[in-house]
């Protein structure tokens, strides 16, 4: 006799093109709202008064610092990856300007055709929604040209992901971006062949926060680890967008039960090595969500091959949403919670950590550059002034020279992924 009453069953396409559909039973006590609890007027307010910016700009100080703590292997790999994706990023950046190559059929809805093509190409999740400019980065506020967003998720390697943290897992992570960047160019060509425009938002040069649009398109819900939890792979996927003027029908947000599930589960919160995840949701910029503490996450992920323990230990990632939700309905429990197999992990030189045990770091470990590079330079300069009482000509010149380097380099949303 099941322990829980089923409120509704979500039916989703299979993980790969051609796979059978999956049925996800959502227990009554996990049911909240489709998508995410939201206060539209607050989202409007914050996006207007405090628009978001790419971390590649707003957090540029630590984005530069990570290169000083990466292992040699990581540096070598990241350089190769950056070289590899550069042509893809360049092509994507200009893609919105390309004219259609085919002739459109007036009034024909192309949702199914685009969906089918995306699935054939290998994308595992495909959804349609409005490109929500409230989530566009300030530096790209006017870059996105077309109204409709095609939300695309590509699964990363299952086996390598379970080795987190490791270089193999980083190959899976960055490698998936390389593959999807190329696939998206093909999908863009296809949309143009149907007589419409397609603008590729490279996953290595993002135009905004994508998760809200993925949630709106019904592809998942926001998890306690701050990532999209989608039915087949939790957050073991890489997200990107294509915007288009092709006529498409928007999907609807779905309640997979995740808003409540993560409150009950908490495995990622309990297992986070940096203690960067919090137990309770907060209202943040008009959305009720779990908020990740960036300053606790970044120092760990930079030094420990991307960390991502929060991805590894998520039961949705490990077993898939249907198995986890079926188990919850049957038993009222979280599949894998408290077990060695789900929660235990090796953490490089710190050794093995079974459920209930976490690595420890001293306070200095978390003391990393923060904010924009120029702000960080200024902060350091102020500290020196406070300490010494004045600055010499040489110090002033050095400070000015470093700031000039930042100005010359300019601000870019590119990189990091």
């Amino acid at each position: 006799m099941p322990k829980k009453t089923v409120d509704h069953v979500v039916i989703r396409p299979g993980r790969r093109y051609g796979d059978s559909k999956v049925e996800i039973p959502v227990a009554k006590d996990l049911t909240t709202v489709p998508g995410v609890p939201i206060r539209e007027e607050d989202v409007q307010f914050y996006s207007r008064a405090y628009p978001i910016e790419s971390q590649n700009i707003d957090k540029s100080a630590d984005r530069e610092w990570v290169w000083t703590v990466y292992s040699d292997e990581m540096i070598e790999y990241r350089k190769k990856h950056d070289e590899h994706v550069k042509p893809l990023v360049d092509a994507a950046f200009e893609s919105g300007e390309l004219e259609p190559t085919g002739v459109s059929v007036s009034g024909k809805d192309l949702t199914e055709q685009i969906l089918l093509k995306a699935r054939e190409l290998g994308f595992n999740e495909v959804g349609f929604t409005k490109f929500d400019h409230r989530y566009a980065f300030t530096s790209k506020k006017h870059w996105s040209k077309y109204e409709h967003a095609i939300c695309l998720a590509l699964e990363q390697d299952y086996l390598w992901t379970q080795t987190i943290p490791s270089m193999e897992a980083e190959w899976a992570h960055f490698g998936t971006y390389e593959v999807e960047g190329a696939l998206a160019l093909d999908l863009g060509d296809y949309v143009r062949s149907l007589g419409y425009h397609a603008q590729i938002h490279s996953p290595n040069d993002n135009s905004g926060a994508y998760i809200p649009m993925f949630v709106e398109a019904g592809l998942g819900q926001l998890g306690a680890n701050g990532q999209l939890l989608s039915p087949h792979f939790g957050s073991r996927s890489r997200l990107m967008l294509i915007t288009t003027d092709a006529p498409v029908t928007y999907d609807e947000p779905v309640d997979y039960g995740i808003n409540k599930f993560c409150e009950v589960c908490q495995v990622c919160v309990n297992r986070c090595p940096g203690r960067a995840l919090i137990r309770d949701k907060v209202w943040w910029r008009g959305v009720e969500k779990f908020k990740v503490i960036y300053e606790r996450c970044r120092p760990v992920m930079s030094r420990y091959e991307g960390c991502a323990i929060c991805i590894k230990v998520c039961p949705i990632q490990r077993y898939g949403m249907n198995s986890v939700m079926e188990h919850y309905v049957e038993t009222g429990e979280i599949l894998g919670k408290g077990t060695e197999n789900l929660e235990g992990y090796d953490f490089k030189e710190k050794g093995y950590f079974p459920p209930g045990k976490l690595p420890r770091f001293n306070r200095e470990f978390f003391d990393i550059p923060h904010g924009r590079t120029e702000d960080w330079l200024f902060e350091q300069f102020m500290e020196k002034l406070e300490e010494k009482g004045s600055a010499g000509t040489q110090e002033l010149a050095t400070f000015a020279s470093k700031v000039k380097t930042v100005l010359d380099k300019g601000r870019s949303t590119r990189g990091d992924e």
């Binding site: 299952y158 086996l159 379970q162 039961p315 490990r318 077993y319 898939g320 198995s323 188990h327 049957e330 038993t331 429990e333 599949l335 894998g336 077990t339 060695e340 197999n341 789900l342 235990g344 093995y352 079974p354």
Partner: protein, 78 residues
């Protein structure tokens, strides 16, 4: 001497895999199937089967019989 592969839960009555048991199971899976195109699916099945076994639930029909045998083998070693 055999290393324990399971621990007995105080309140549940069934046994859960220990790290040693997991290492042994995945070592055998890797040794026998790593070169096979089925390895990924077998690994997915193994993770799910271990979780169900740890929860004291039946493994179900969808899990590969080879994985079920492995889980039962290491369960029997406890």
């Amino acid at each position: 001497m055999l290393t324990p592969c399971f621990v007995i839960l105080g309140n549940g009555g069934w046994k859960m895999f220990t790290k040693n048991g997991l290492d042994a199971l995945f070592h055998e899976l890797e040794r026998d199937w790593e070169e096979s195109t089925e390895f990924e699916q077998l690994s997915r099945d193994a993770h799910l089967a271990i979780a169900l076994s740890d929860a004291g639930r039946p493994l179900g029909d969808s899990i590969d019989q080879r994985v079920i045998s492995l889980v039962e083998k290491y369960k029997a070693m406890s």
